[in-house]
Amino acid sequence: MLEVRELRTGYGGKTDLELERLAFPLGTVTGVLGRNGSGKSTLLRAMTGMLPYAGEITVDGVSLRSLTRRQRAQRIAYLPQALPAPEMPVETLVAHGRYARLGLSKTLGAEDRERIRTALEQTELWPLRSRVLRTLSGGERQRAYLAMVLAQDGDYLLLDEPGAALDISHREALGALLRRVAASGKGVVVSSHDLPLSFAVSDRLLLLRRGRLVAEGTPEALVRERTALRRSMDAILVPAGNPRSRYPYILGAEE
């Protein structure tokens, strides 16, 4: 379990995010929702130890501060929002996911190669493995980075807007992939603006507004209780009501 207690963090010495107590269990998908500047990315950065913070963050009972970068990367994989397009083949990028698990010589072993292959297959990138990232579309590139963090094989996956550049079918595939990853026992935390997808994929949702937690709960509970969603996202969701609908909930209008 990834736990956050009395967390205060932010940029340039300011407190941009303040949270009392949160837990991210293994085997579940937690969606983090909020408008721009609500603190979603700040929360994920703090949980990877990249931002200084007051309070306590623990990984399976161990303080995040006591872990070395390498130990932390073995447990927590993090996909940031901004992803450059370097002159590098997809397969090489995905292999970098194994960095924290390699020895001094940084040579890939049989298990590493197997993980890389699985990650490429999971993200449907096996046929594109030799292509250079710069020549790929934005969506393909985002999937390549997703494959990299899958190959990292951490117990927890923190993904910052992983579906932002994906088309509808790949967003759906991403949702299904995140469910499979959680079903395999990993804890997945996803920040997103895509409300229908987040509500379809997540077991639990956190709603943030101006660096504070507005509400947390299951998708069903948050759809029923509209105020929190309206406060944090300025939107509401309603049941799709059609069995052929892609998502169980769709964006609704105020009555």
């Binding site: 970068r69 390498r70 990367a73 993090y78 970098h96 960095y99």
Partner: protein, 336 residues
């Protein structure tokens, strides 16, 4: 020929690089010119030449010069490669981290204090390069090790050290003659003592570069993604810049301020689709060495019996290359 197709671009570069390096070495050592023929030099190599001049020229002039060219070419190329990766800028070269300004100032001082002592100038140039980079590291430690901080600190420190050099030249105008030769860069008069002084630093720099290469490979992914993979990005960037400074400083102590080698060779190697830093380091050793050797041979023969400083030739080649890089980058950005 069929087998050749199975090799990747970097493998082909590696396979061709070794014979090209050996060929360039042979060309540089046995190049006809001067009082001694190639045949006499060849005979001297096997101890068959009775004439002492041939032996002297081969072992005291040609061999240290050729090996020095290989060391400088490799050192400057690897240094440029590391800097371009650490600063995520393919146009970066050792001058950007103050190596040239620091080495230039200290070499000038050594020329004044210990005139006619080449080893003192070599040592001073190396120390100057490290001192400049040490100053930059001190600034960066306070201001944060972002790419732009490193580059801007380099600009500030270089400007300061260049101003100091100019001040010395103003007060001691006689220092300028030595400085011109050092600033242009060249391999003329390189001796075994200088080579033996620089070799341990070049060896240590090469070893560190190979050790750091796994982390250097993560720089292009951006600081956040690299941190997420477990790399201490700011520390690794500082170490990589320091390693680049050791290599460039050692090279500068041998050949003066040779420009463009560190810019051209890594970029040409990347055209061969070498993506891993370790591969690129190997290729820089082979092709950087060959490149400087061949340029030196050209500089020696182009206006024979006069010899051009190789730095002058490199600037003539490097400037158009730099412009070509800029245009190529613009085209790539347009296609992306």
């Amino acid at each position: 020929m069929r087998m050749w197709k199975h090799f990747s671009g970097p493998e082909r570069l590696m396979l061709t690089g070794l014979p090209v390096l050996l060929g360039s070495l042979a060309l540089s050592v046995f190049l006809p010119g001067g009082a001694v023929s190639s045949g006499a030099l060849w005979a001297a190599l096997w101890g068959r030449e009775t004439e002492q001049a041939a032996q002297l020229i081969l072992f005291q002039v040609r061999l240290p010069r050729a090996l020095g060219a290989v060391c400088c070419g490799a050192g400057l190329s690897i240094s440029g490669l590391l800097l371009q990766s650490a600063l995520n800028n393919p146009l970066a070269s050792p001058g950007i981290i103050g190596v040239n300004a620091g080495a230039g100032l200290f070499a000038l001082l050594a020329g004044l204090l210990f005139p006619l002592q080449t080893l003192a100038r070599s040592g001073a140039a190396f120390l100057g390069a490290l001192a400049a980079v040490g100053l930059i590291q001190a600034i960066v430690r306070r201001a944060g090790a972002s790419r732009s901080t490193v580059i801007l600190s380099g600009v500030a420190v270089s400007s300061l050290l260049t101003a100091l050099s100019q001040a010395i030249i103003t007060f001691y105008p006689e220092a300028i003659a030595d400085r011109v030769a050092f600033t242009l860069g060249g391999l003329h008069g390189l001796d075994w003592n200088q080579l033996l002084f620089a070799l341990p630093f070049l060896g240590a720099g090469l070893l560190l570069a190979v050790l750091f290469s796994g982390g250097v490979d993560l720089f292009p992914l951006g600081d956040e993604a690299a941190e997420g993979l477990g790399l201490h990005v700011s520390l690794w960037r500082l170490l990589t810049v320091l390693c680049a400074a050791i290599l460039a400083g050692a090279a500068v102590s041998l050949c003066g301020l040779l420009s463009f080698v560190g810019l051209m060779v890594p970029n040409l190697i990347r055209l061969g689709h070498a993506h891993s830093c370790r591969q690129q380091i190997g290729l820089c050793c082979l092709w950087g060495g060959s490149f400087l050797l061949l340029c030196d041979c050209l500089a020696r023969t182009l206006f024979f019996p006069y010899e051009l400083p190789v730095g002058l030739l490199l600037s003539c080649l490097g400037a158009p290359f730099f412009v070509w890089m800029l245009i190529r980058r613009r085209k790539e950005a347009g296609h992306a």
